[in-house]
């Protein structure tokens, strides 16, 4: 990482003595100014809170602001400092130990909901399963987006995670969203603990149980119309070369890098979740599957895996902004349609009725068709 220019730091200091601190994690002046403003608003809110969290700090807002800026300068994500992050139209609670939701994920979920909510032949109840749910952001946003357009359909949503902390936070986020007046969500939402990697036929540890056992134990259905997942997908080498200091230093590695297995190389480790997720989706008889990925290479590998299990009628790749028109021809795959703008971000598969719900028409088996 290049060092910050002294001139920039000095200029920042003349604007506000706290800005140079924020320049370290933010890199640009505009971003640092925004963060300083948000920190200030946060401190103002704390100061005005009727039930003060900490009276002593409340009396010294300047000192508090400075302390938060110093924390931020150490690389601690602003979202952990402020305690929330926006995800689509929702503002969700975040806490150290659970991955901060990303806007790209929100963009895919919202786009999926947009495609489906206009479908003519939706069943009266739609079931959505989110594997590796973290803060619970995906089911909560899907519920909100879909329900604001279609209140005539029942939704059942379930989030699954291996981490106690994540499941606890997801439940609190559900309560938070339900308290929020503008929220449209009214689906039946729940979160349960399970290990999506554990093999039901292998040696069973019951803590946490495998997915099937967990569904059974919690009296949840086996069959789900839509399966979504944003699993850990970063390879060990990319973890060191590509993630930022703030991600490495403060977000849980469990949420980012799949576990190592003897004999797996770097890439195989990054892809480790996808075969299990596709199997889970097949067992659930999902009509639509949406899996987030790191980049176009991984997208191609996952799409190829999905084609190999030969149950899908169509497979395509979405970029960061799937709702935007695809302008660039860069990276257009000859095998799978690529939609949207930005980096390749997820792989969408569908079969049977899923094609109608998505408005994709019934494509030929395994979608070897290419776009003209």
């Amino acid at each position: 990482m290049p060092r910050l220019a002294i001139a920039l730091l000095r200029h920042a200091y003349t604007i506000d003595p706290l800005l140079p601190l924020l320049l370290r994690p933010c890199r640009t002046l505009a971003a640092a100014q925004n963060e300083l403003r948000w920190l200030r608003e946060h401190v103002d809110k704390l100061v005005q809170a009727r039930r003060p969290v900490n009276r002593k700090l409340q009396q010294q807002p300047k000192a508090l602001l400075r302390r938060l800026a110093v924390e931020r300068a150490s690389g601690k994500p602003l979202q952990y400092i402020l305690g929330t992050e926006f995800f689509g139209e929702l503002e969700l609670r975040c806490q150290p130990g659970v991955l901060i939701p990303r806007p790209e994920t929100a963009a895919s979920v919202t786009h999926l909901s947009h495609l489906i909510q206009n479908a003519p032949a939706l069943p009266s109840e739609l079931r959505v399963l989110d594997l590796c749910t973290g803060t619970g952001c995906i089911p909560l946003l899907f519920d909100h987006d879909f329900s604001s357009a279609r209140s005539d359909r029942r939704l059942q949503l379930l989030g699954v995670d291996i981490s106690d902390k994540a499941i606890g936070l997801a439940h609190r986020n559900l309560a938070r969203v339900r308290r929020w007046k503008a929220s449209a969500g009214r689906g039946d939402v729940d979160f349960i603990l399970a290990d999506v990697l554990s093999n039901p036929f292998g040696d069973q540890t019951l803590d946490p149980p495998c997915l099937k056992a967990a569904l059974n134990f919690n009296k949840k259905p086996y069959f789900w119309d839509i399966v979504i997942a944003n699993p850990p997908y970063i390879s060990p080498s990319a973890y060191w070369s590509t993630t930022t200091r703030s991600v490495r230093g403060f977000e849980p590695k469990l949420a980012l890098v799949p576990p190592p297995r003897p004999g797996n190389n770097d890439t195989e480790q990054a892809d480790y979740f996808y075969p299990r997720l596709l199997t889970a989706a097949r067992d659930a008889e999902a009509k639509i599957v949406l899996l987030e990925v790191a980049d176009l290479d991984q997208a191609m590998r996952v799409a190829t895996m999905a084609r190999r299990i030969a149950i899908f009628d169509g497979i395509e790749i979405w970029r960061d902004q799937p709702d935007q028109r695809n302008e660039s021809a860069v990276g257009i795959s000859a095998e799978f349609p690529v939609r949207g703008q930005g980096n390749a971000r997820s792989v969408l598969c569908w079969r049977g009725l899923g094609a109608t719900w998505l408005g994709r028409g019934r494509a030929t088996k395994t979608s070897r068709t290419t776009r003209a």
């Binding site: 505009a30 997908y233 990319a238 991600v247």
Partner: protein
């Protein structure tokens, strides 16, 4: 004023200062309510004439078109009658009072009556005016005010910030709901005295556009900047752009879908950029960059928003601003043709973004509006958004109204 005799000297000298300040206000308010602009009056008379002719025509046989037109004129004609009546009685009373031959008792009675007659004349004038003036199609809408520094470096930027606070105070006093959609000084805060780069103030009350549209244009400031060591007066400027604001839930919502509407935007012609799309993205980074930039490709209009931590909120605000800007541009283009016509007929000045509309002079503690020609002296009260600002704005609205009527008359004349 007859109580004046009983006031002692020291009280009098205390009273004189505010009186001096108030004089201007009195004059303007008095004239604003009691008299009717000549152009308006001329039009009212013309309407009354036509009304009479139409009525005669109708008496000789029914004509649907004439009947309809007659109905539309009714309000104007009766307002004019009221006004004439009030004027007459006022004239009578005044001549009575000034006539040295009239009976003193009668004179006193007349003096007593004067107040009530004045009031009814003011009311009649107002009625007559409102019955005639074409109402701006967007007058009922809330508005967005965009304020930016013009020529004059950081002094201009400081003044732009002063204007923002002036309008905010004005809104507070009038109970208009105002929100800063965007406030960017180089500091990222809204402190006073820090140079502003751009502000967008939303006045979210019905009819705000009708109130504020007279504020559009270049506002000039003459003062010694805080940064000036030699005490020289500088002249700088800030520009104010006023746009009717359409939130999603206004009655014009359908217009968003209607290609004929000014507010229609073909979504395929807008490029939406989220700033963080650079780099690996996804799980690799956790930056807070929620900025959104919209580019309307055909006109190359760019709007960016980064105030909120929520990307959808930034996007929504950006769309709102883009729609308003494009609609204004379209309206202006259409109106330009009209204005060209009016100019050729009358030389009416346009009140758009380019023209210098007002000067704030600190040395003389005065504010002069170049359109209405009015000067007030309580500069501080203006900058505090006080009643003196009301006076100035009323004056401009009145001027604008007269111009509107002149233009209307010119237009009708050119049609004949």
């Amino acid at each position: 004023m007859n109580t004046m005799h009983w006031i002692c000297r020291s009280c009098l000298s205390r009273a004189i200062r505010p009186l001096f300040k108030l004089r201007v206000r009195w004059q303007t308010t008095a004239s604003a309510t009691e008299s009717v602009p000549p152009a308006l009056l001329a039009r009212a008379r013309a309407v009354a004439d036509e009304h009479k002719q139409l009525a005669e025509k109708l008496a000789n046989g029914f004509d649907t078109r004439a009947a309809k037109k007659l109905g539309g004129y009714g309000a104007i004609v009766s307002a004019l009658e009221e006004w004439d009546k009030a004027n007459e009685s006022l004239a009578e009373l005044t001549s009575l009072i000034h006539d040295p031959t009239s009976d003193p008792e009668l004179r006193e009675l007349a003096a007593d009556d004067l107040g009530a007659t004045r009031t009814s004349l003011a009311k009649a004038s107002q009625n007559l005016t409102t019955s005639l003036v074409p109402i701006h199609p967007f007058a009922h809408l809330p508005c967005l005010m965009e304020i930016r520094p013009g020529a004059g470096g950081s002094e201009a930027a400081i003044f732009a910030g002063d204007l923002v606070r002036m309008y905010q105070a004005y809104c507070n006093r009038h109970n208009y709901r105002s929100t800063l959609l965007k406030y960017e000084n180089i500091n990222g805060t809204s402190e006073a005295g820090v140079p502003l780069s751009e502000a967008v103030l939303e006045v979210n009350s019905a009819s705000a556009y009708g109130v504020f549209r007279c504020e559009a244009g270049v506002h000039r400031v003459q003062r010694v900047p805080a940064t000036e060591s030699k005490g020289r007066t500088h002249t700088s400027a800030a520009s104010v752009l006023v746009l009717p604001s359409l939130e999603e839930n206004t009655s014009l919502e359908n217009d968003f879908e209607d290609p004929e509407s000014d507010y229609y935007i073909d979504v395929n012609e807008v490029k939406v950029e989220v700033m963080r799309a650079k780099g690996a993205g996804g799980q690799h980074v956790n930056t807070t960059d929620s900025a959104v930039r919209l580019t309307h490709i055909p006109t190359n209009t760019v709007v960016s928003m980064q105030d909120s931590r929520s990307q959808p909120k930034n996007k929504e605000k950006a769309w709102q601003l883009l729609r308003s800007r494009l609609a204004q541009a379209r309206r202006e283009k259409r109106e330009e043709e009209m204005v060209a016509l009016r100019r050729s007929v009358l030389g009416v000045a346009k009140t758009g973004r380019g023209d210098k509309v007002r000067t704030y002079n600190w040395g003389q503690q005065r504010v002069t509006d170049h359109r209405s020609g009015a000067t007030v002296h309580d500069l501080d009260d203006v900058m505090d958004g006080g009643q003196t600002l009301d006076t100035v704005m009323e004056g401009v609205r009145r001027w604008l109204m007269e111009k509107d009527v002149e233009a209307l008359i010119a237009e009708e004349a050119s049609k004949k």
